[in-house]
């Protein structure tokens, strides 16, 4: 009897551990960024703000992940002594090849997120939606949902709301902002 219970408990523990560790791998495909980029180095050593690279265009739209030209403004020659920078210059800057950056926050086609209104009018910091990304030393793996194709940062993790519509609505409700469907959908 006791042996049976112990066997059952052991099997249950094994199954849930396997499930806990394995399910995300079944659900999400993991992808690595092309360049070992550190937001922390740029932020702390370089003294740069988010908007120095992730800027708004003149028409108010968000420029997104900067193109190589932006990096090349500073990194035509090595500024530091890190291997990552040397590799970046050799692989991308010198041959003038755009790195194929992966986006953690890519939204569905029908979502319209105006960065300008949130940054300039509502005075929200980037970290409100993007978390500690701007201070991270290493770019995390991008986990792509195998079915929907959306990033796990958008879909949400246990204990993290992600960047789904309910997170937007929650914040808008708290601040008493109006939310007609076509405010944010296109």
């Amino acid at each position: 009897m006791i042996r049976g219970l112990m066997l059952f408990a052991a099997a249950a523990a094994l199954a849930s551990t396997a499930g806990w560790l394995g399910t995300p791998r079944v659900l999400y495909r993991q992808q690595t960024q092309p360049v070992a980029f550190s937001h922390k180095v740029h932020n702390e050593k370089g003294g740069m703000a988010c908007t120095d690279c992730h800027s708004l265009r003149a028409d108010g739209s968000f420029a997104g992940i900067p193109a190589l030209a932006k990096c090349a403004e500073c990194h035509t020659a090595a500024m530091g002594e890190t291997k990552a920078e040397a590799a970046f210059i050799a692989d991308y800057v010198t041959p003038n090849r755009e790195p194929q950056w992966l986006s953690y926050a890519r939204q569905p086609d029908n979502a319209w997120f105006p960065h300008g209104a949130h940054i300039m009018r509502a005075k929200l910091g980037c970290e409100n939606c993007h978390g500690g990304q701007g201070k991270s030393d290493k770019l995390p793996l991008l986990e792509v949902n195998r079915i929907s194709g959306y990033s796990r940062d958008v879909m949400g993790r246990p204990g993290k709301s992600g960047m789904r519509m309910d997170a937007c609505v929650h914040c808008h409700e708290q601040r008493g902002m109006r939310h007609a469907c076509l405010d944010c959908h296109k």
């Binding site: 108010g60 319209w112 007609a180 076509l182």
Partner: protein
């Protein structure tokens, strides 16, 4: 449906179409399709299966020929499509007066198409497809619709988004000014667009002028699209039971 007509922060976008100026060239239809990611129609498409959020209707009469650009009339009162939708997939936005269609909520029952007195709604019978290479011309500010949902004119809502973004960048508040694709494309400037709540706009002035009327005004849907004509038989065809074709402007 709530329409905050007295709130000055709200816009009430509207349109005035001068039927006498329309030559029936169809540039507005093309501009509309390009702007709103409507794929090229299948060779077999007819007026039931094709998608033409903006459609120029030819009206023959003993007095002559009139071309009537027809799109969603953005009904303000008793919005028929919104009233019948079982999914809440249609809403009248009090801040813009635009009747919004939300494809993700639409279940494709097409009640709204039956309810629309203006036949301004279209159904996606298939998934949109573009010939190779043409998908590169898609407008990123407008999401393509999927198979099985209804769509219609939303006064180029994508352009409203862009105009709002620009206004924020320039530190401007209040209703934004923008121009829908059909208005921009019309070579004879037959269409005027603007905020009906703003007394300084030419759309407001034109809508109040003599000779302006609304289609089926008598059924009480209070459309925000006005038409104009100096020709009596055109005005008489507007379907107003009162006999006088003049629409009472609601300010």
């Amino acid at each position: 449906m709530i329409a905050h007509k007295d709130n000055s922060n709200n816009a009430r976008y509207g349109m005035v179409v001068d039927i006498d100026r329309c030559t029936g060239c169809g540039a507005c239809m093309i501009a509309c399709a390009v702007e709103n990611n409507v794929p090229p129609a299948a060779p077999t498409a007819n007026e039931r299966t094709g998608i033409t959020p903006m459609r120029v209707i030819r009206y023959e009469h003993a007095g002559g020929t009139a071309f009537v650009p027809m799109m969603c009339q953005q009904c303000e009162d008793e919005t028929p499509c919104a009233a019948v939708c079982p999914q809440n997939a249609v809403e009248l936005d009090p801040a813009t007066g635009i009747v919004g269609q939300i494809p993700q909520r639409c279940l494709g029952c097409r009640y709204c198409m039956a309810a629309c007195p203006y036949h301004a709604r279209y159904f996606n019978w298939g998934d949109p497809t573009w010939p190779d290479g043409l998908e590169k011309t898609l407008n990123p500010s407008v999401a393509p619709r999927m198979r099985g949902v209804v769509e219609k004119c939303n006064f180029c809502h994508g352009r409203w988004h862009e105009a709002k973004e620009l206004a924020v960048a320039n530190g401007k508040t209040g209703p934004v000014e923008y121009t829908p694709a059909c208005v921009e494309a019309c070579p004879s400037r037959a269409i005027t667009f603007g905020d009906l709540n703003n007394s300084a706009t030419s759309v407001n002035e034109l809508a109040r002028e003599k000779g302006s009327f609304r289609l089926l005004d008598s059924i009480g849907t209070a459309p925000k699209v006005y038409y104009r004509s100096r020709r009596d038989w055109v005005r008489a065809a507007s379907g107003n039971a009162s006999g006088t074709a003049e629409g009472a402007h609601r300010g």
